[in-house]
Amino acid sequence: MNPPLLSAQHLSVRFGGVLAVNDVSFDVQQGEVFTLIGPNGAGKTTVFNLISRIYTPTSGEIDYLGPQGMLKLTEQPPQNVASLGIARTFQNIELFEHASVLHNLLIGRHTHRSTGLWQDLFFTREAREAELASREKAEEVIDFLGLQHHRDSFVAGLPYGVRKVVELARALCTQPKLLLLDEPSSGLNVEETDDMAFWIQDIKNDLGITVLMVEHDMGLVSKVSDRVLAMNQGEVLAMGSPKEVQNDPRVVEAYLGTVDDVASLRRNTPDTAEAR
C-alpha cells in the first residue's frame, strides 16, 4: 500500500482550559476525498488550522509526503505550507477584496514565482515571461471552474456564491497536491452545491488532487467522499465510508441525542407527574 499523503498522529491542541482537539489521529490516502464531519464546535476547523500551520498543536505530529519525501509538517513555518503543495479555502471566505478575480488567482500563483525583487522592479524579460506564463495557468483554472464572466470584476462586488468559487479557484492556482476545503457548500443554494460536488469530483479524478474537507451538507458528503471522519467535542467518534459513519450509533447520538436525554427534557407528561 502506498504511504499516506498526510498522517495526523495523536493531535491535541489546548486553548487555555479548552481542549479543542483531543488525541485525533487519521491518515489521508493519495487521491481520495476525505471528509471531516461533526456538530458545531467539534474541532474540525481547528484541525484544518493545524494542518495549514495557523495553530501549533500542543502535542502530536502531522507527517506529510512532500516533494522531497516524508516530512514533519508541524516543524514547517506557516508560509512554507503552500509551497509543499497544500492549499486551502476558508469557512468565511478570505479573498483579497479590493482586487479583481484574475488578480486573486495570480496571487495564488505566488509559490511558483521565479523572479526576484530586482527583476520585478525593472520588469525584465524574465519577469515578463513569468507573468505571461502565470496568466496562462490562471486562465486554465478560470476555464475549469467557468469563471470567465467574472475574470475582471472586483471581488468586493461579487455575490457570495461566486466568491466561494473564486476562493476554490485561487486554491487550485497554487497547483496543490492536497486541497483543504473548509465548508465548500456553506451559503450556497442547491444548484451551486451540486456544481460544487461535480467540481470536487473533477478535482479528484481529472486533476488528481487529494481533497480533505469539512462539510455539513450530508448529501454532498455522501456523494463525493471516499472516507468520512466524524468528530465531536474534539474527539474522533467514527471513521469509515459515508454510510458506515452515518449509521454509527455514536454519531447519531452526537447529532440527535439519545432517548434518555430527551426524556429528561419532557415536561408534565402524565407519568412524570405521577413519579413526583
Binding site: 495549514s52 483579497f96 479590493h98 482586487a99 496571487i107 513569468a130
Partner: protein, 358 residues
C-alpha cells in the same frame, strides 16, 4: 465607452492599455518637458516641489495604500535621506553616489522600523512609527558633530561627476527623471508577484500566508522600499531648499505626507501625484484668496491649518477614495453619458468577512 478587445495576455500586462493612455500620458510628458519654457521661474520651483513630494508620496502610497501599513513618522525617513545626502555631498561625493547612499541608509532604517510592524497593526503601528519620528528628529538635533544640530546645515549644488547643476531648470529636469523612474518602478512592482504580495497582505494576512507569502519578508520589504523613496525625496528636498534643519522633518511633515495620500486617494498611484499637487498648491490658493476675504478671516493666524483640516474631514466624509476616486467618477460619468447612475460606485457593505483570525 471604450471596450478593449483582448486577444493576448500581454495586453493585460502593458502599462498603456489603449491609445488614450499613450495620447494623454504622452501629452503630459511633453508638457512636463517643455515646462521650463512655458512657466515662470517661481511656478517651475513649485512644480519641482510637487515632483519631490510625489516621490515621497509614492513611497508612502506603497506602504499605506498597497500594503496597508500606516506610518505616522514618515518624515523621519525624509530626514535620514536629506541629512545623509547633505553630509555626503558636502564631503564632495558625486550626486548619484550620494543619492544611492541616502536611499540605502533610509531603506536600512526602514527595515529596523518595519520590525515592530511584524507584531503590531493599525493604530499601534501608527504609535510605534510616530515615536520613531520623534526619536529621529531628536537625533538630528542632538548629533551636532554631523548634523549641525538645530542650526541646520547648508548643502552644495548637485554635482554629477563634475557637472554642477546650477540653475533651477537643470534641477527640475533632475527631479523629473527621478520621479519618472520611481513611478515606473512602482508600476512594475504592482504588475508582478512582489506587488501582488503587498496587496494580498493589505486585504487578508491570513490567506496571504496560506498562499505562501512570507509576511515578515514582504512587510519589511515594503517598509524599506517606502523608506528608500522617502530618502530619495529627502535628498532632493535638501537640494531644493539648500538648507536643512531638524524641524523640517517633524511630526507636521509626517502628517502632511499622510494627508497627501489620503486626499490624493489611498490605493492608487495617481493619488500620490494628485495629493502632491494639492499639498503644494493649497497654500498658494489660500494666500491668493486671502486678499479678497474680510480682514478678520483673511489675516487670522492658522487659516491654512484650518482649511487643511476642513478639507481632510470633507474628504474622509464624502470622498474616501480621494481626488483620484472623484476623477474616476467624473470619467465614468463622461464615458457613459447619459447612463450614469448615482449609486454606481457605492460599495456593497460586506458582513461576511470574519474577524476571527485577525
Amino acid at each position: 465607452m471604450r471596450f478593449i478587445f483582448k486577444t493576448h495576455y500581454a495586453q493585460d500586462i502593458v502599462l498603456a492599455k489603449h491609445g488614450g493612455h499613450w495620447f494623454w500620458y504622452g501629452a503630459l510628458m511633453l508638457l512636463l518637458l517643455a515646462a521650463p519654457w512655458l512657466f515662470a521661474e517661481y511656478w517651475l520651483a513649485q512644480m519641482t516641489l510637487v515632483l519631490i513630494y510625489s516621490i515621497a508620496g509614492l513611497g508612502i502610497m506603497l506602504l499605506a495604500g498597497f500594503t496597508g501599513l500606516f506610518s505616522m513618522g514618515h518624515a523621519a525617513f525624509l530626514g535620514v535621506g536629506a541629512y545623509t545626502h547633505a553630509v555626503l555631498t558636502n564631503m564632495g561625493v558625486p550626486f548619484p553616489l550620494a543619492l544611492a547612499c541616502a536611499a540605502a541608509l533610509s531603506a536600512l532604517v526602514g527595515v529596523v522600523v518595519g520590525l515592530p510592524a511584524l507584531r503590531v497593526k493599525g493604530i499601534y503601528l501608527g504609535i510605534a512609527t510616530l515615536s520613531f519620528g520623534f526619536i529621529v528628529e531628536e537625533v538630528l538635533a542632538r548629533w551636532e558633530s554631523v548634523t549641525g544640530g538645530n542650526a541646520g546645515i547648508h548643502i552644495k549644488k548637485p554635482n554629477l561627476f563634475g557637472w554642477v547643476l546650477e540653475s533651477g531648470d537643470q534641477f527640475y529636469y533632475l527631479c523629473l527623471v527621478i520621479t519618472v523612474a520611481a513611478t515606473l518602478g512602482i508600476l512594475n512592482l504592482l504588475r508582478t508577484p512582489t506587488g501582488r504580495a503587498f496587496v494580498a497582505i493589505r486585504d487578508s494576512e491570513i490567506s496571504a500566508q496560506s498562499m505562501g507569502i512570507h509576511l515578515a519578508y514582504y512587510k519589511t520589504l515594503s517598509f524599506s522600499l517606502s523608506a528608500a523613496l522617502a530618502g530619495v525625496a529627502g535628498a532632493l528636498y535638501a537640494h531644493n531648499l539648500q538648507f536643512i534643519s531638524p524641524d523640517q522633518f517633524n511630526i507636521l511633515q509626517s502628517i502632511d505626507l499622510l494627508l497627501m495620500i489620503v486626499i490624493g486617494g489611498v490605493g492608487s498611484v495617481h493619488g500620490a501625484f494628485l495629493g502632491a499637487i494639492f499639498l503644494i498648491s493649497m497654500p498658494q490658493l489660500i494666500s491668493m484668496t486671502k486678499d479678497y476675504l474680510p480682514a478678520a478671516v483673511g489675516q487670522a493666524p492658522g487659516l491654512q491649518a484650518f482649511v487643511y483640516g476642513v478639507v481632510l474631514i470633507a474628504f474622509v466624509l464624502f470622498e474616501p477614495m480621494g481626488l483620484y476616486g472623484r476623477w474616476l467618477k467624473v470619467r465614468t460619468y463622461l464615458q457613459m453619458f447619459p447612463f450614469y447612475r448615482k449609486g454606481m460606485f457605492k460599495r456593497q457593505k460586506s458582513f461576511q468577512k470574519s474577524d476571527r483570525l485577525k
